[in-house]
Symmetry: C2
Subunit: 243 residues, 2 copies
DNA sequence: CCGCCTTGTTCATGGGTGTGGACAAAGAAA
DNA sequence: TTTCTTTGTCCACACCCATGAACAAGGCGG
């Protein structure tokens, strides 16, 4: 069950992030399609907790830097090493494709860091973007790091659904693909999840965390480069982990 | 009316900020005193939106850096100039007391930047801390920048409540004190809000924003230094605004 | 100044949601 | 293995809160 008002808080914060200036009650209500009275209550709640203020009288609310402080404290506790983020930048520069770091979240994988390709046609990803864990290269790279029972308990909950002809449709197909990938030395995904989308991933164990390094782009640009790409990622990863 | 689940989101994020490591459903439920089922729904909602992930299988959830990205986008849109934050640091160093920047939020003033005194006995403030707008020095420094009608509409909603012998108990008392302060050249508060607490403030108009610079500390350390303090703040402010 | 329109605030109520409890799954102990 | 405890998941229902509607307060144009 999804908690509506919790989602609304996130929606409101995202609204301010894209708007980048204060908003009055009516503006928020209109833009987000909420009743004015509900908006009133929600803004009041966030303001009371010190998360909203009024930069100018009568010009509406805007988030205080309190959120930033909170987020900093949270992120500084489990940071990604500098070497990993520079690796992402290097990979994007050399390959021209989008690179990222993903982790598990229920039956999905979620990006916790992304460096986007500069090309007009590219894999468009952002931190927080989620994708199925069983039919993406980075998802399986994460799964490969779990123990058999843990992986089983995740896969049991997966809602197998067909996205394309190559989509695996059962636990055993996923397990088989993971085995093949381990032998091969890298994880890959050829349009299993989204038409035209191709990903190459490597497991990235980091301070006990089960992460994955992934480079993804359009199938036609990626397909014949996969082995070379995987080799380059492996070198970069070994170098970064050694640091 | 306070929106419970919205407040719970903030509580949860603050929980992670102080805990600084992943938490399982049961731990969250126990530590925050929520029913397990409600906790389940809330965590699920945040996870679905890409704000939570599982660093290690079976070791619980932790916020993704998505929140940090969001907060950065929000704060970069209305930043405080470098000169202001260095002014705060300078003031703390020279005076030994806590310095901060405050803004309006309904009938309260809220800190949007704080630099704390290093002394063991000090005014303890954090970004997001709120205080009544009518009986604090910084609150009145903010009010002084508003037009008469705007100020009136704020003051009409103030719940006048006695915190101490000096607390102003009516709109006209507040207006009178603001007038006195403008003539005097600075705003001050001698234990009106909290026993033993003394604040000195100056209005800080910044890009149209109605802010206030405040230095606060224990009454006995502050009282006879007030004029000197105010003069020092004025100099620093003029210098910072010129930059 | 007076209407008119927009914005902000309050409140009673019924539809949606938080929660207790039942169940399932996974460790822990034996 | 089996049993016991802990943790995670599901669900129906009572209750509470989100909301529509009414009201108050500004703002604006005439």
């Amino acid at each position: 069950m999804i908690v509506r008002q919790a989602a609304h808080v996130l929606e409101l914060l995202e609204y301010f992030a894209s708007r980048r200036r204060p908003a009055t009650l009516s503006e928020v209500a209109q833009d987000l399609g909420w009743p004015r009275s509900s908006t009133f209550n929600l803004l009041g709640t966030l303001a009371e907790r010190g998360y909203l203020y009024e930069p100018r009288a009568r010009e509406g609310y805007y988030p205080t830097p309190r959120l930033l402080h909170l987020a900093r404290e949270i992120s500084e506790a489990e940071p990604l090493p500098e070497a990993v983020t520079t690796l992402l930048r290097d990979l994007v520069e050399e390959t021209g494709e989008t690179a990222g770091i993903a982790a598990a979240s229920g039956t999905e994988a979620v990006f916790i860091e992304v460096c986007e390709s500069p090309r007009p046609i590219r894999y468009f990803a952002r931190v927080g973007l989620r994708m199925p864990i069983h039919n993406t290269s980075c998802g399986r790279a994460i799964l490969s790091q779990m123990g058999a029972t843990e992986r089983a308990s995740v896969l049991r909950k997966v809602p197998f659904e067909r996205f394309g002809p190559a989509t695996p449709m059962s636990v055993s197909e996923v397990e088989a693909e993971i085995r093949r990938s381990v032998e091969r030395g890298w994880f890959q995904n050829l349009a299993e999840f989204s038409q035209d989308l191709c990903g190459v991933s490597l497991p990235l164990p980091l301070g006990g965390r089960q992460l994955a390094l992934v480079v993804a782009g359009p199938l036609n640009r990626m397909q014949e480069r996969i082995p070379a790409l995987a080799a380059r990622m492996r070198r970069g990863l070994d170098h970064a982990l050694a640091a």
